[in-house]
Symmetry: C2
Subunit: 436 residues, 2 copies
């Protein structure tokens, strides 16, 4: 059995998971490494942050996903070194370092928040890239509203209840919309301990002169209109120049008094790509061949957000889940082809369109880049798509029930501030002191 | 409106919550103070610890419970001083200290784990008294099994997968049973990365010579038999004399190699009772009059686990939820009677019996101290009772769905290790180092 190849996949996101599922069908041993013991359904992170879903509704244990596939093992840990000459990977685990040899390696650790080198923003902003981010943001907002409920200083109270979201992409829109709904349907009623009544603001900042840059103009306008009809204030051409614990400063000098800045204005490739000593391109992305191979790095493939690959028109493929999935599957197939000495396939993206949701019954969708949907119909399309792709039947069922329940009642039951001291993080402590 | 009395309730457990609900019907202002922003349905904490339920399924935001009751306000914070002469309470909040005056005060902060002064146990054991405890234990067990999955040293692996529960009361039985089911139906299948196959042990230690001390002998025997038929090892007359990060030492010299000791061998009154400068009795409990008043402390009532009160036979009322509820309601009614100058009522416990669950389809119940049920019928009674009393319809629905789903599939989906560094706690780190 010396010929049974060993594949290591780093990252249990969409690219890594689909690659592993593809490889499970064949005669290879797969070691899947991740720093979490679960896969995260990232498109719904904002729903965890806004108290609509439990963390476990959008996260699924990796070992459960592969419980019947004996050829796939899982290791919980951080990769610290990739020795691409010796073909081995070093992993920092709870019990120390482990070294694992590979015949084929797939890099699929995705992307992280990009603060574009602005340290003040990085220090004070909340990202929304993983489950810890989402839980931190949830705790932060709930703690601010507990403060606001007892604050008799109107200016202070307004600052505590002003939530700023930066970035006019789908994540920014979804987050801003969900935050306003959380306030409007839940917090407004429950956090009015003192007079005068609380008024919260949710402000969406976009540096360019339109939202949803890659969408047709009609959908851009519809998205803005829907956000505003919901209650979100949209500020275009609004570039953040500085952030402190209690204010957001714009490039034109305007100041927004707020303790909460959610940053969804950009991503950069996971820093793991640096371990390959390859020159990276825009946003730290790793250039790959159309076969998903990394040039001059024998046996190494990459897929998903951390890769850079252009289509036949010279346009880079976007950092989206469908791209990651399809690249992961192609990488897996190509490893098997390479092993058998066959010709490798090249990536071509099967693209069904793009969509963004804005809140209850509000969304925009551009199906197959032909059909433009707005409002309730677009929202239904979004709902259906997300339910279909959610991993695991149990999760799908529970997410669906939570959604229907929320839709009917505006209930947001997942409003727990857990483990005050330990889950706070730097930003919380500072904001709290400022509010004091 | 000078005559509208102000009631402060400390603690949003069962006693405090039921008192507040009672007071909401009358012409009084209530301030409810708790260190968490949610009420916890404590009987199901062990299900959170064993990955069967989400934290939010057994916790409900206090503000939601009272969203329609304008006379009830909520304050998130820790009470640091009770000035019973001046009738005021000092609360440490996120934004500093707040002082609140009361006409009537209800102490209802319940109980905490009792380690009986054994520092080694306190340092290394896991309690199971609040949601943070439950989440810590969940993370700890999952991390140990991740280690065990890769351990090639059989002795080390056995220690990692040996879970010890101390205490033969209902909580100990439930926890031991649920831990074994977690292993037997989930972890066993998913954590077998290396040969030989993993064998976990769950050991229940009880210092006395029988389980469930206050139950009839027939139910005691049935409980032990059901636990053993499940797979739990029951050790009677087994007193813990020392604990280290990797072993449990019994009084007779026996040593159990284990990294996990769950301590459910006793509770003591919440330390808040010391603030009243009243002499406490067994387990630090605060003696109360049958009216739930604290003698010589004008306007102060107490209810629930932290109180000490004897029935007409001179037997102390047990520290159980139904007692807490009924005492909370009586305390609230007596405050109103005192305000109106009426005669106060005295506590008499309406007792419907006791029950303990042991696992899927296994339980014992002693209904009205007449009907003795064991096995599936007792389990159905337990299930029904808990569903009926769970707070809030949404939670009830979601808990019910999770249960039915778990029952049919043995699924345990809530197996997330979140926020590795921040939620670890001392015990985790030590265990991990030992295992290294």
């Amino acid at each position: 059995m010396n010929s049974r190849p060993k594949v290591i996949i780093i990252g249990a996101g969409f690219a890594g998971l689909y690659a592993a599922q593809e490889l499970a069908k064949s005669d290879v041993d797969v070691l899947l490494i991740d720093r979490n013991n679960f896969h995260t359904f990232t498109p719904l992170l904002y729903q965890v942050a806004t108290c609509a879903l439990d963390p476990s509704s959008i996260a699924y244990p990796v070992r459960t996903i592969f419980r019947t596939q004996e050829s796939i093992s899982f290791l919980l840990g951080d990769v610290t070194t990739i020795d691409y000459e010796q073909k081995s990977v070093t992993v920092e685990t709870q019990s120390g370092e482990q070294q694992h040899h590979y015949d084929y390696l797939l890099l699929a650790t995705g992307s992280i928040t990009n603060y574009f080198g602005q340290e003040a923003i990085e220090k004070h902003a909340f990202g929304l890239k993983d489950l810890d981010d989402a839980i931190k943001l949830r705790h932060h907002i709930l703690k601010l509203f507990e403060l606001a409920a007892w604050s008799t200083d109107t200016a202070e109270r307004d600052a505590l209840t002003t939530l700023v979201v930066v970035g006019g992409g789908p994540t920014g829109l979804e987050t801003a919309g969900a935050l306003y709904e959380l306030y409007n349907h839940v917090l407004k009623q429950e956090y009015n301990t003192v007079e005068p009544k609380m008024r919260a603001r949710v402000i969406l900042l976009e540096a360019m002169d339109n939202l949803l840059a890659v969408y047709p103009e009609r959908l851009q306008r519809a998205a803005k209109k829907q956000l505003e009809s919901l209650g979100v204030e949209v500020m275009l051409n609004a570039k953040v120049s500085d952030v402190t614990p209690n204010q957001v400063v714009l490039a034109d000098g305007r100041i927004i008094h707020s303790h909460t800045l959610v940053w969804s204005a950009g991503v950069q490739a996971s820093p793991i790509v640096k371990m390959l000593d390859v020159e990276t391109v825009r946003g730290g992305r790793l250039p790959v061949l159309p076969t998903m191979q990394v040039a001059e790095r024998e046996g190494i493939y990459a897929a998903g957000d951390l890769t850079y690959l252009e289509d036949s028109d010279g346009k880079p493929y976007p950092q989206l889940i469908p791209v990651a999935k399809q690249q992961g599957i192609l990488a897996a197939k190509n490893m098997l082809r390479q092993q058998r000495g066959e010709t490798l396939g090249e990536f071509s993206y099967s693209d069904r369109g793009i969509m963004a949701t804005i809140g209850r019954s509000r969304a925009v969708a551009w199906l197959f880049y032909r059909v433009q949907l707005t409002g309730f119909l677009a929202w239904l399309a979004w709902l259906f798509l997300h339910l279909v792709v959610l991993m695991g039947f149990r999760n799908r069922l529970s997410v669906f029930i939570s959604w229907v329940w929320n839709y009917l009642t505006y209930d947001r039951s997942v409003r727990l501030i857990l483990n005050n001291e330990e889950q706070g993080g730097e930003r919380n402590d500072e904001a709290d002191q400022q509010a004091a």
